[in-house]
């Protein structure tokens, strides 16, 4: 009978084993404990925390967010408490949950990335690193690291040399050839890839005739970007061997399945956490029900199935 099917939601990212493929997307889940009231954090596949830098960052002036059609633009400006404060204040709280912690981090120079990785490497309570390469490079006229293959190669290599932890590279979707960027990251030592980060966008208030965000440009997220994200996961799955973490507008179980079938081993829930802070848990339960209904034993057997036939 249907109920007798036991399903296995476990997946592996690098050498990191996750009890299920559902994690939070960086920047939408705070440092984790913010959501403890709404979601049983010990049930998550992993907690991906807000992006950290060596030094604390104040972020951009408001308005920082604006809702758009089926999505939102944000220009938070990477506000964060800094790596040292995170290790001191947040790691002890996160240790209460039996869930791997993936630390997202960034820098404004290759050297700063390397230093951040060195600082995070081997810290008890951190299980993997996710590097955000969608931020501006001080030494290259503030061009985004992740839109230049040569720079991407350099920054990923520099980080790889500083850590033995599973290293996930979060790709920027604001590129012509996502497959190329994915291969570069893989060749430079990435253990896995996260895609996609937000798409650069902007909105204008027609009454004031001014951009709605104080930063002018912002990152578009939410269901509006999902088809773009699905396509990119699909394309990248064809050209790399390392596991993919799919994200971009996942609101429910079907959305998560779409990413998995396109080629993702795991998925991250972002903007949906703002709409319903219990979304991650609902998707974990939903995946399990789907598998029982469809008589699927291993979630990993669904990865990339859209490519066959």
């Amino acid at each position: 009978m249907v109920d007798s099917v036991s399903v296995n939601l476990e997946v592996t990212i690098g050498n990191l084993k996750l009890k299920n493929p559902v994690m939070s997307a960086s920047g939408t889940f705070g440092y984790g404990p913010e959501y403890a009231e709404f979601a049983d954090l010990s049930r998550l596949g992993a907690i991906v925390v807000k992006g950290l830098s060596l030094e604390p960052k104040e972020g951009n002036p408001p308005p920082r967010i604006v809702e758009t059609a089926s999505g939102m633009l944000n220009a938070i400006g990477l506000q964060n408490i800094g790596i040292s404060a995170f290790i001191k204040e947040k790691i002890p709280l996160l240790k209460y949950f039996n869930t791997p912690v993936i630390v997202n981090f960034f820098g404004d120079s290759i050297d700063e990335y390397a230093q951040a990785a060195e600082r995070l490497d081997g810290v008890d309570g951190i299980h993997a690193l996710e590097m955000n390469i969608s931020c501006p490079n001080k030494q290259a006229g503030w061009a985004v690291f992740g839109t230049d293959p040569a720079i991407t190669s350099k920054v990923v290599t520099a980080v790889r040399n500083k850590t033995r932890m599973p290293l996930i590279v979060k790709l920027s979707p604001n590129v012509t050839d996502i497959g190329l960027m994915a291969r570069v990251a893989e060749d430079s030592g990435a253990d896995a890839l996260s895609l996609i980060n937000t798409l650069t966008g902007m909105a204008i208030d027609v009454r004031t005739r001014r951009p709605k965000l104080s930063n002018v440009r912002g990152g578009l997220s939410g269901p509006a970007i999902r088809p773009v994200a699905i396509r990119m996961v699909y394309d990248v799955y064809k050209v790399v061997k390392i596991p993919l973490i799919g994200m971009g507008g996942i609101m429910n179980t079907d959305d998560a399945l779409e990413f998995i079938m396109a080629g993702a081993t795991a998925v991250a829930v972002g903007t949906a956490n703002f709409v319903n802070p219990g979304t991650t848990i609902e998707i974990i339960d939903g995946l399990s029900s789907f598998m029982k209904k469809e008589q699927i034993k291993e979630i990993c057997s669904l990865t990339g199935v859209a490519h066959t036939g």
Partner: protein, 249 residues
């Protein structure tokens, strides 16, 4: 945070003030402004909406009532800002009744402004709950023609001997004007701030306002610069009510 219907449009919940507690429920006050509030206006009795709250802090009333015997608190509301101060008007009324047993005059001095008379709440109820109610509209269709700052300046003049505690909620330019006037008087003032908000639970860092740093662990003598430092605070967590003197405009 209120979500009227599932789906992606509108996508995010919207923040509302808790307007009134009634038997068996609560009331929220809204003005039809966009898609979300239009949908609210189309709801029928018995429809189900999703609500996350209450969130954030509240107006501090302690001290306001004891100081009230000398100078009643002044509450300033602009437009739908009345929703957030309404429970405050009620509780000050209640506290002052109990402490002064003055059934006639217990309550705050309320200054209430809107664009037109149509956008004002029922004034009789407010009148009954306040010591004095002063109303103004931009077009003069109700009360004085003008804005709440003009009224505030005449009710609490610069030469006022005893300064009241003040509370304000309304559009940002109004709050700023109130804060600047209160600052020139030196009157203790609390503002309920508003910013674009996504999560309401402190995670997205979208709804920040710039505030003076309290500098708890800062050695002031060591670095003069520190005393002028600022930081962002979240409207949803550290707010929405802030000390007017802490806001950096």
């Amino acid at each position: 945070m209120l979500q009227v219907r599932d789906g992606n449009d509108p996508l995010l919940k919207r923040p509302f003030s808790l307007f009134r507690t009634i038997a068996g429920g609560i009331q929220l006050l809204y003005r039809i402004q966009g898609k979300g509030t239009t949908l609210i206006s189309q709801l029928a009795a018995g429809d189900v909406v999703s609500l996350l709250g209450p969130l954030g802090n509240a107006y501090p009333v302690q001290g306001a009532a004891s100081a009230a015997s000398v100078s009643p608190p002044v509450i300033i509301a602009g437009g739908v800002g009345i929703a957030s101060v309404f429970p405050l008007i009620e509780s000050i009324h209640e506290v002052m009744h109990q402490s002064t047993r003055d059934t006639m005059n217990g309550g705050a001095t309320v200054i209430y402004g809107a664009r037109t008379a149509e956008e004002l709440l029922d004034l009789d109820e407010l009148k009954a709950l306040s010591k004095e109610l002063h109303v103004c509209t931009d077009d003069g269709s109700s009360g004085e023609k003008g804005n709440v700052l003009d009224l505030l300046k005449s009710i609490v003049p610069a030469e006022a001997g005893v300064l009241p505690v003040m509370y304000a909620c309304g559009p940002k330019p109004m709050l700023r004007a109130v804060a600047e006037y209160a600052g020139s008087l030196g009157a203790k003032t609390y503002l309920s701030m508003e910013e674009h908000m996504a999560c309401g639970i402190g995670a997205c860092l979208g709804c920040v306002v710039k505030t003076k740093s309290k500098g708890q662990d800062v050695d002031d003598s060591a670095d003069i610069e520190k005393s002028t430092e600022w930081k962002y605070q979240r409207v949803c967590m550290e707010g929405p009510v802030f000390n007017a003197e802490d806001i950096v405009w």
